[in-house]
Symmetry: C2
Subunit: 237 residues, 2 copies
């Protein structure tokens, strides 16, 4: 029922990539988040992060490399080029403005904003993003306290440090909660740990053990690892 026929594939390589496809944007954003200083990001880590098979990540890296968005060293990993980073920062800006909008205007909780923003960031026009930003009063941070890059990809000044880096007894203002899951965010909220809250470090167990934190609603032990993701600055300024 099917004449087999001879298949001659010319396979001319160009394959022009849609710069604005959802998955391209997701790969770039993931690379941006995974890339510490200039160590290349491993294919497996990237694939894991995006919940795709490693082979899929490899395929996409080849396309992104061809488009000049990443530098791909086979078997070593890959890093963003300037142009790729620029593109990624644009997505970070969109994401954070949307999160701020969802919280301020639509009364979303801190634990709800990310999921919705993850989808919307790909759907919203540049115009709409800028309108949101205006309506919000040109905010410089999102509801987690993460900075919103400007159009050139520059971030506002950041003097905050991880909670676990302070010494006890100083009053501290929580500035930012980095990349935590909705469940963790709900937990922290319940403990009174949110951007803007003023707390006091009561004690630090040795060997990176838990720290004891005095918050507006009680005294709570916090795992070292979690405390690394909570940025604060001395209260008063």
């Amino acid at each position: 029922m099917q004449s087999p026929g001879l298949l001659i594939t010319i396979s001319a390589m160009p394959s022009h990539l849609d710069l604005n496809s959802r998955s391209v944007q997701d790969y770039l954003k993931a690379l941006y988040k995974l890339q510490q200083q200039d160590a290349p990001v491993s294919t497996n880590v990237l694939a894991e992060r995006l919940q795709v098979a490693p082979a899929s990540a490899t395929a996409m890296m080849k396309k992104l490399a061809e488009a000049g968005l990443v530098e791909h060293i086979p078997y070593q990993g890959c890093r963003l080029t300037d142009s790729g980073r620029q593109q990624a920062l644009k997505m970070v800006r969109r994401h954070r403005i949307i999160e701020q909008f969802l919280q301020q205007v639509l009364h979303y909780g801190l634990d709800e904003v990310d999921e919705e923003a993850e989808v919307l960031e790909h759907a919203v026009s540049d115009k709409l993003i800028e309108r949101m930003w205006q309506v919000l009063g040109q905010p410089s941070h999102d509801p987690h306290g993460s900075p919103i890059p400007d159009h050139q990809g520059r971030f506002p000044e950041q003097s905050a440090r991880p909670l676990c880096s302070f010494s006890p007894d100083q009053p501290l203002r929580i500035v930012r909660l980095k990349e935590r899951s909705p469940a963790q965010l709900r937990y922290l909220h319940q403990l009174g740990i949110e951007p803007g809250a003023v707390v006091r470090l009561v004690d630090k167990a040795p060997f990176n053990g838990p720290i004891i934190l005095h918050t507006p609603n009680g005294q709570h032990p916090i795992a070292w690892e979690l405390a690394e993701a909570i940025l604060a600055e001395p209260d008063t300024p």
Copy 2:
């Protein structure tokens, strides 16, 4: 370099359709808009509306029919089933709530809301739609004056009639502008014709000729065809 090999396609028909894909939703919405009373919608008209090849529309109709969303009579056309219509009305609700939100909260113009809503309606969660609707005060109409169906797909009462169906001299309130292009909407805006505006029919040329309309900012001739798309009701109630 390529062993041809024997290809035996079993081709079991099920092919389960993603009910929530963007294109499925677009097809259903288009069918809903094109379907006058119960005349089936022609494949070509549908394809034209969605800017795809007729063959693509046929292919999609087969899938939608299999999923029970439309009834497809080959070579005759196709019409929505109750379940398909329900689905389409859900999209209409989303679209109109988004339009209202864009106008009220983000200060979009009447001529700008549709394009943005067209994309957003596929990206926004049910939760976000309902939040928007709450923040807006549970509106029953969008900025064009088109009614917003409720969760059961029911529309609010509609007593308005086309402008051209009234007789001269009665004061009328514009209630709705149906399905016009951005350019037409800008033109009407400039003439002072917008939902809520109070106008007076000055004269109607015979044989469906232009009508003369007195608006807040002058006296203007309007083509019959355009006047059919402008719904109004007697002013005062």
